[in-house]
Subunit: 403 residues, 2 copies
């Protein structure tokens, strides 16, 4: 409700905002750290200063006890109701490679795989073929045509590609063909919901033709499809909050979700945190008033259960903080899209620490950017999609409600 109201009240002028996301930053106590979390264990002099000069709180990306995927986690902190705006993995994959999805497009992820002579899956990733080979295979599939449906095949990375079907009456109610393990055949194309006849027919035809083209290649002689997602028109941050937004993210998935929100992509040279800070600065100088910056490796280290590496990634981010401050944004928000506790090696439902620096705040309540201080911070505990109203308010971009 707060974000709907914020949409109505949003102004097309005011301060500039940087939303810096340490992916999966929230954690739980690590026994090897004597019960400290990675945020508590890390040496973060720059974040500490920011915490005391700003205000802390914690957000619930989707709801109490709900573990979000990366899509809902990010959409929520961009100000979208993550339940209303659920986006399938296939669509995110396509958006992540800058494919311009249109309303009604059906997208799916492709894994090139290795099949034996009986068509049984030997390797679901065909030995992680090179991206070059992936591009070659995709080129071989591009000529496939299906009556009444336009087909686009695009390479992603290594064994991963994606396919987009464009036509009337498509549906995402289709089961994955990936059996999820070796020793079985790819699954038949079947509907998972009523009304998917047309889509089942088009996808089956595509798979039939693609299988014929691939069957004599090596090591990738087959393909698996998953994450069917129908793309529907999506309001951008310009539509919703009158922002002129940009994104700085190294990974296709996050570029995809940012692109869905209408953010212009800025690429990082070099492709690391320093490059990202420079890209954020460039976006600001270009007149962008909202920049999303994504730091991936706090999440990857959490998923690997590597708490020491997670600490190192937090400290690396901390060293980037002075550069972020130097960019000159009026408001800087630092948070995560979800928690990824190292002991779980998975995304989790735990609240995510938030720090807002800039604008009128109840400062001086917190001394460090940690789970515990965030839970007692001046901003309190709130839903992920209430973060956008808080950032807009701090930047003076929301009108007063009512007389």
């Amino acid at each position: 409700m707060s974000s709907d109201l914020a949409s109505q009240l949003s102004l097309d002028h005011g301060g500039t905002i940087l939303l810096a996301v340490m992916d999966g930053v929230g954690d739980i106590p690590i026994p090897e750290f004597g019960g400290l979390t990675p945020l508590e264990k890390a040496r973060t002099p720059n974040l500490d200063k920011l915490a005391s000069a700003g205000a802390l709180g914690q957000h619930l990306p989707v709801g109490r006890g709900i573990t979000p995927g990366s899509g809902p986690g990010h959409l929520s902190i961009f100000g979208y109701d993550p339940v209303k705006y659920l986006v399938g993995r296939g669509a995110l994959a396509a958006l992540g490679i800058d494919f311009k999805l249109q309303h009604g497009d059906l997208a799916a992820r492709i894994n090139f795989c290795t099949l034996d002579s009986d068509g049984i899956v030997l390797d679901r990733r065909a030995g992680r073929i090179s991206t070059e080979l992936c591009i070659e295979l995709v080129a071989a599939l591009k000529p496939i045509s299906i009556p009444g449906v336009e087909v686009f095949v695009e390479p992603v990375k290594e064994h991963r590609a994606c396919v987009i079907f464009r036509g009337q009456g498509l549906s995402e109610g289709i089961h994955d063909t990936d059996p999820g393990l070796v020793g079985e055949k790819p699954l038949e194309i079947t509907a998972s919901a009523p009304g998917a006849e047309l889509a089942v027919e088009a996808v089956s035809e595509f798979v039939r033709k693609a299988s014929l083209i691939l069957k004599d290649k090596s090591p990738a002689n087959g393909l698996l499809l998953r994450g069917f997602a129908l793309h529907e028109d999506f309001p951008t941050l310009t539509d919703l909050f009158k922002l002129n937004p940009a994104a700085v993210a190294l990974y296709p998935m996050y570029r995809g979700v940012a692109s869905l929100a209408g953010m212009e992509q800025y690429s990082s040279e070099p492709a690391d945190l320093d490059g990202e800070v420079q890209a954020a600065k460039k976006a600001l100088m270009d007149g962008r008033d909202f920049v999303f910056l994504h730091h991936k490796y706090t999440d990857s280290s959490g998923e690997d259960g590597d708490h020491k590496r997670k600490v190192a990634e937090i400290e690396k981010f901390d060293r980037a903080v002075p550069g972020l401050l130097d960019c000159g944004f009026d408001v800087i928000c630092i948070t995560g899209d979800h928690s990824t506790p190292c002991p779980m090696k998975l995304h989790s439902w735990h609240p995510v620490p938030v720090l807002i620096h800039g604008g009128p705040q109840r400062t001086g309540w917190s001394g460090r950017f940690t789970e515990r201080e965030a839970a007692a911070g001046a901003l309190g505990t709130f839903n992920g999609d209430e973060l956008m109203p808080l950032m807009l308010a701090a930047a003076g971009r929301l009108a007063k409600f009512g007389a």
Copy 2:
């Protein structure tokens, strides 16, 4: 939702409640006070005692990041969903002078102004004419009649008056005629939304006739209209919570919003905080079971950015606390309708401290009535319209929900 349920469960008997509002009381750290807020800086021995013997919390008048006007801020703490019950300024102005608005009435604020011979605005307030002259001008306009629509013109104060149109099919979809600055003509009457034809016609006819009447007067020879608001039936606190409510407020705006909630107005002699305490006592003795008392000057000093005066106004309120306790209410709630941080000189979105004294409470958690103690108080953080259920519960005026 909590207030809807409270409405269903409310009893027509139980304890009496005083809701004392220090308008705009919430603040942020003031550098000149070494980072203390006005509430933290003020000497408030009486509030301190109340805080320790009661329970603290903080409310969000409308939502995270949303800055409320005075209307939504008050309606929320009276137990109304402030988004559902949004009231226009014109209606509040009419209600503030005790005009009995009916369902479907269209109200607008009038500014008497000075025009030059070409009809250009020289002074939007006609030099702030005296209230006596305002009454005189209004008397000259009262005879205006419009076919099919009843018109009421009422003086407010100085250059301010209001006009109410009563008839079938009126709409509030009309733009202000106030150009907002001098050197321009008053704007034509135009629709801001479809379906306003009838209203545009009636208002145009009124302005035409009023302009003829005023044109040879001095210094006020014209009028500007703004804040068109259609009044719709509004449930009272009697309808919603079986209360017999009264209001003690010095300013028309707050009398207006109280009157909307069905509160009987009690006037204060003298027109200051002491007079207000006496009026609250009289209301209680008259059998009122819910009294709203409004202290304006914490907000005005905040809007002036005068943190020292805000401290003085808080201390003045503190000195009134023993008198409020002597009245004999069973439950006393002290809060604000929103925050007005001195450094901002504006209403803000920051949560507002709440103190409830009386009834069974988790007492002894707090030692002072401050933003920081409120955020850590026993009542927690809640939406403004959840305050009424908490007050009713403290007063034993809510039945159990379910078997």
